[in-house]
């Protein structure tokens, strides 16, 4: 959630970003992490656990209509039924008598969609800017870096709020707002990777062979730069889901679609009398975000055991 002003730094990125410094300070001969089989096993178990958790959420999202047909926003029962008190509504009902279990399952769709779309958009723009900037260098780099800097310098949550306020709250404005504030992270990452790769032998060879810039970037540079992006992207999905929840808490959710964030948004007023209404979607969010983080960290180790970003 509150990838509030201060915190738009995904964990994996946080972990890696500074790692570059010691790397250049004292170049290592070996990759210590990969040396131990046990360690690698452990880490892949992390990725596995994350992937498994995410599969559950994705399954709920895909099959929501099969599991619980009908409109999740329907007022089907008495309001304020506590969880585990009746079989008809195992997780209870909210203040308007909407079934919470049905809501949770259906909400996974919007929450995941918000996370994936926002992260996807951010990755797209970030890769574009980062690759161009790193590959061409010079004034292109200067200009694009300045633009990136402008967006990165504004306090993220405040900026998301501004975007959503201007476009009026809806799922698409929320997605756009999150994407607009998170692409610079990807851009910096890709720029650094591209800088590292553009002078690599295979890229130079391609250049000598007369390959065009676009092809070099698409065929040679990006595929080699993609793994840190995948990692950062998976964490962006998590942070987007948290940001959506924070926006809903602040009263900026989309009222027409049910998401975990909007469930928290409507439950926050009754927090003192019926805390389960915010706790249940809160747990769903924590679960998903944890799964995504585990997956991201696992992927980080599996894909680039020695990444150094910058």
């Amino acid at each position: 959630m509150s990838l509030d002003a201060t915190t738009h730094v995904p964990l994996a990125a946080a972990e890696r970003a500074p790692a570059r410094a010691p790397a250049s300070a004292a170049p290592k001969k070996r990759a210590p992490r990969t040396s131990s089989f046990g360690y690698r096993f452990l880490r892949s178990r992390t990725a596995l656990a994350g992937g498994f958790g995410l599969a559950i959420v994705a399954g709920a999202a895909i099959f929501a209509d099969q599991i619980f047909p009908g409109d999740p926003l329907d007022m089907v029962a008495r309001p304020f039924i506590w969880p585990f008190t009746t079989w008809a509504h195992p997780l209870g009902t909210d203040m308007l008598g909407r079934d919470l279990l049905v809501g949770l399952v259906h909400a996974s769709r919007v929450s995941l969609a918000v996370g994936l779309t926002a992260a996807g958009l951010a990755v797209f723009v970030g890769v574009l800017f980062g690759a161009l900037s790193g590959y061409f260098g010079g004034w292109v780099d200067q200009v694009l870096t300045r633009i990136t800097e402008v967006f990165q310098t504004m306090p993220p949550l405040v900026f998301v709020v501004v975007v959503v306020a201007i476009l009026t709250p809806s799922v698409s404005s929320i997605i756009l707002g999150i994407a607009v504030t998170s692409w610079p992270q990807i851009s910096r990452l890709v720029r650094a990777e591209t800088l590292r790769l553009r002078d690599a032998e295979f890229v130079q060879a391609a250049r000598v062979m007369g390959m065009g810039h676009a092809r070099i970037i698409l065929a040679h540079i990006l595929p080699n730069a993609i793994s840190p992006v995948v990692v950062a992207g998976s964490i962006l999905v998590a942070s987007a889901i948290l940001t959506e929840a924070a926006l809903s808490f602040l009263g900026l959710g989309d009222p027409n679609l049910i998401s975990w964030g909007s469930m928290i948004g409507s439950g926050r007023e009754v927090l003192r009398t019926a805390w389960y209404m915010t706790a249940l979607p809160g747990i769903a969010i924590s679960f998903t975000v944890m799964a995504l983080n585990l997956l991201g960290n696992g992927l980080n180790d599996v894909l680039n055991p020695r990444v150094s970003l910058t």
Binding site: M1, S2, D4, A5, T6, T7, H8, V9, L11, A14, E15, A17, P18, A21, P22, S24, A25, A26, K28, R30, R33, G38, Y39, L42, T145, R146, E149, V150, T153, M154, P155, P156, L157, V158, V161, V162, A165, I166, T168, A238, L242, A246, F249, L250, I264, R268, L271, R272, W275, T278, A279, G282, I285, S286, F287, V289, M290, N293, L294, T310
Partner: protein, 334 residues
């Protein structure tokens, strides 16, 4: 942010600073210009907010308000006026708060700084401790427990943590105040006032730290694991130095470098505050100021906050680069 390939320190600090300033001024200008026009895309204006809060108004009243706020002038004139003010370092007037923007910001910034710096310090200290313990017992139960703790902290919505802490510690146990910054019924002075503020800080600081601890724990853990494998640490170990002194003197000290970077990066954004925590704990800080400014269409104030926080981000990035270079002269600021 882009860094230039200048080697420090060899009297080049000044040149480096000069270059950065040259780069930074356009960035700040771009932020102000962009936002000036961008914010005006928002539907409705301050006159509508004030009329809406009053519950009714006559059209003449609305026109009078707009004239007072300068909203009746053509956009470009408004822009020129604003920029002229800005070049005189005047951030303008907040009509919604009936106060100069700079005064408002300066009255809130210390509150936010107090809250955020305390949280960050707590998070860094605990993060280092947890990270060091995790690295030391890598793969065993302390590592597992602390990893789980930090993962949960990072994945739990902040407002939920805050509200639950209030329910538990304020409403049920009555140990700590539920919000605000001071006890307004008793007018504490001197040391008692400091203690009073400290009591009000406990819950928001812990809520925020709970979130940050994850970052620093993991950072410390991975940095320590990495440094542990370095030659000089191996040498020390081979010399038969006990594990704890090694951990503290060699490993931890070197692992601190990435922490400095991270902290520096976060410091800059800190003053824009945490909207969510300030909302939950009624903390009179910058985050809430900015948030309310958005919904009250208090554009002068919002622009002022954005300008101020951009400035701080840039300054703190700069300082981080310099500190970094000073800490480790081998490093090229790149």
């Amino acid at each position: 942010m882009a860094r230039f390939g200048i080697t420090l320190p060899e009297g080049r600090v000044l040149r480096y600073l000069g270059l950065r300033v040259v780069q930074v001024v356009p960035t700040i200008l771009a932020i102000v210009v962009l936002n000036f026009f961008f914010l005006r895309l928002a539907p409705g204006d301050l006159a509508e907010v004030i009329a809406g809060e009053a519950g009714s108004a006559t059209p003449e009243y609305m026109a009078m308000l707009r004239q007072q706020f300068g909203l009746d002038e053509p956009l470009l004139i408004q822009f020129v006026k604003y920029m002229t003010q800005l070049f005189q370092l005047n951030l303008g007037y907040s009509f919604r708060n009936s106060m100069p923007v700079l005064d408002l910001i300066l009255s809130r910034a210390p509150n936010t700084a107090l809250l955020m710096l305390s949280s960050l310090t707590l998070a860094v200290l605990l993060g280092i401790l947890f990270g060091a313990v995790s690295a030391q017992w890598q793969g065993r139960w302390p590592d597992g427990v602390l990893s789980a703790f930090s993962t949960v902290g990072f994945a739990t919505p902040l407002f939920w943590v805050g509200l639950m802490l209030i329910v538990l510690f304020s409403v049920e146990l009555r140990w700590l105040p539920a919000g605000g910054m001071r006890d307004l019924q008793r007018d504490y002075q001197g040391l008692a006032a400091v203690a009073d503020i400290a009591r009000h800080m406990v819950l928001p600081v812990f809520s925020l730290a709970f979130f940050y601890i994850a970052i620093y724990t993991r950072l410390t853990r991975s940095a320590m694991l990495e440094v542990q494998e370095l030659d000089y640490v191996r040498t020390a170990r081979a010399k038969g130095i006990a594990p704890l002194p090694i951990a503290v003197r060699h490993v931890l000290r070197n692992a601190l470098l990435p922490l400095v970077t991270m902290t520096g990066l976060q410091l800059g954004t800190l003053l824009s505050g945490s909207v969510v925590i300030e909302t939950v704990f009624a903390w009179p800080g910058m985050g809430r100021l900015a948030f309310d400014a958005v919904f009250q269409r208090d554009l002068n104030l919002l622009l002022g906050v954005l300008f101020f926080s951009s400035f701080l981000v840039i300054v703190s990035n700069l300082v981080t680069d310099l500190v970094y270079a000073l800490l480790d002269p081998r490093i090229d600021i790149r």
